[in-house]
């Protein structure tokens, strides 16, 4: 930047081109494989140029992976996580920065603790929680002997068996992934930088807390919301472990899970052409998002990791 260094410039461009190639080569071969017939894709070596079967393979993948249904599921889950997490986080960040109440620090720490543990480390108990979300209530009923109490009151023998199964439902796919505090902290940090004068002025004008939130804080937060929404959409679309545990019903699988079932295993027909075209199709929505909204995406990426 300060001096002329043609050799170094050249080396730097070479490095970056190598990096860009390293990104593109797997994608290019996926495209090549996705455009061949099943016979051609097993040829060694793989042809360097794409064939003409891309559309046909896309159609095959679309049918085989039930993409018309699984894409819809992915969209619902990704948007659900995005909207849900942003809404919930906005409210709780508003509460812990703009209100003085007794349990404020307790609430803050309760939320903060959840930053630390990724969902992967507690999959089994979380799965139990989703398989029967009423389980804690059941324990409560059991320990308090509520059944006996009701039985005593009504004079009949009563059994309390609570069940609220969220497996194979959208809430079951969405809610556990909303249980983390990253977004809350992003908004908290932002709210702390909002000038105090805005709140004072709003109160002088007689605005209620919710009015202030809706008419002033929310519009100010739009850039942060957009940036975060992009990150959360990618996060939701690319989820794997959680939807994997819920594929008991094929109609509730997400696109990524359906795609995984397209990969040839050693004992099946090596239909890599269909699998690869399916892979390209599945990565298309998130790729479009970061290409079209790159500026927001960068802001969201850097902000949300703090």
């Amino acid at each position: 930047m300060v001096e002329r260094a043609p050799v170094l410039n050249f080396v730097c461009h070479a490095i970056l081109i190598a990096g860009a190639l390293a990104v593109c080569v797997p994608l290019y071969f996926a495209f090549v494989a996705g455009s061949l017939t099943i016979g051609e894709v097993q040829k060694v070596p793989l042809p360097w140029l794409p064939g003409d079967q891309f559309i046909a393979n896309l159609q095959a993948a679309w049918v085989k992976a039930n993409f018309s249904r699984t894409f819809l599921n992915s969209v619902v889950v990704a948007l659900g996580i995005t909207a849900g997490k942003i809404a919930v986080s906005l409210l709780s960040a508003f509460a812990i920065t703009y209100f003085r109440f007794r349990y404020r620090m307790l609430a803050f720490w309760l939320i903060f603790v959840s930053l630390m543990l990724p969902i992967e480390v507690r999959i089994v108990p979380t799965f139990e929680a989703v398989a029967n979300a009423a389980l804690p209530l059941q324990w409560l009923a059991d320990t308090l002997h509520l059944a006996d109490l009701f039985g005593w009151i009504s004079g009949h023998r009563v059994d309390i068996a609570l069940e609220w199964n969220m497996v194979n439902t959208y809430p079951g796919l969405i809610l556990p992934l909303m249980a983390s505090a990253t977004a809350t902290f992003l908004f908290r940090q932002f709210f702390l930088t909002v000038p105090d004068e805005l709140c004072e002025a709003a109160r002088l004008d007689g605005a209620s807390p919710l009015r202030f939130f809706w008419s002033i804080l929310l519009p100010l937060s739009v850039p942060n919301m957009v940036a975060l929404a992009i990150i959360l959409f990618l996060f939701g679309w690319n989820q794997y472990l959680w939807p994997l545990l819920f594929t008991t019903d094929k109609d509730m699988a997400t696109a990524v899970i359906a795609l995984k079932n397209l990969i040839p295993r050693s004992d099946s027909e090596p239909a890599w052409n269909v699998a690869m075209s399916g892979a390209l199709l599945t990565m298309l929505p998130p790729t479009l998002v970061i290409l079209l909204l790159q500026r927001w995406f960068l802001k969201g990426l850097v902000d949300s990791s703090k």
Binding site: C12, A20, A95, V121, Q294
Partner: protein, 336 residues
Amino acid sequence: MRSSAIGRDVAVPSAQPRSAAASVSHRAAARKKARPAQEAGLKRANFGEGPGLPTLLLLPQLLILLFFFFIPSLRALTQSVLLSDPFGTTVQFVWFDNFKALFANGEYRQSMWVTLLFTVGQNALTLSVALVLAFATDHIIKGRSVYRTIILLPYAIAPAIAGILWAFLFNPAVGPLAHVLHGLGIAWDPNLNPNHALILVTLAASWKHICYDYIFLVVGLLAVPVSLMEAAAVDGAGPIRRFVSIGLPMLGPTVFFLAVMNFIYGFFETFAIIDAVTKGGPAGATNILVYKVYVDGFVNLDLGSSAAQSVLLMSFALLCTLLQFRYFDRKVNYGV
């Protein structure tokens, strides 16, 4: 340590190693310092007393956390000290036997070793490639945004899909890169050779994650004050010398942060890559800890052992968070 941090402050008064987010927390910290009587993290202009409304606002988040975070975490803790048969008919309290059994278990020790190899390898590869790319991006002027856009692409790609792409490239029967390796006389087969499988998942995991480290390093390098670089240039330091002696030390906290994030990524998020590519095989060569939790809990139905493993992983995640706090400390020290 503190005095050295202050010394650095004097040397680089306006150094802000990170981006807008960093400056946000700087400002927040500065505010807190300016009004020590102020309750931490509360606006000066606030809506006063009354727990009713804030409780209502907090309720959705706290309920979700209660059901899907606190109760499951407690369940993991209690299950880790219980022994139950797969059908859940008998449950026994066994103190720390589950943990003792884990450490005595050769399979678990192998899994720890594999995880260590995998995460350290992934971390080293990701960080070094990202550093070189970030340096190159910082040096050139033309075409910067084009390169950046392409290098960022893998961020959009699900880990499972990244795994599938690489599994195809290195598929011993049809993969084009496997063909090249065979041509070089290497008997490449990740389905049979444990080392090959580990190399394959490490490559796929790094390919997916380099973009993350890269963008943080690029942003970090942009924040290095131009005056420092110019002063060094006047003193006769070339571009590489400037990067090594000024850019890298200024990036120190960012690199540390990224190393921790890479470990978290390697430990937890790479589950999808393992499951889609190797399923932990061959012979447990890619059976990383988080994958073992899943297999033991959902396939082998050994809940006690799985919970004990979860607890160990939780401790590790906690350790990472604490390390990040140290990083936050450093970052604050860099401020004016």
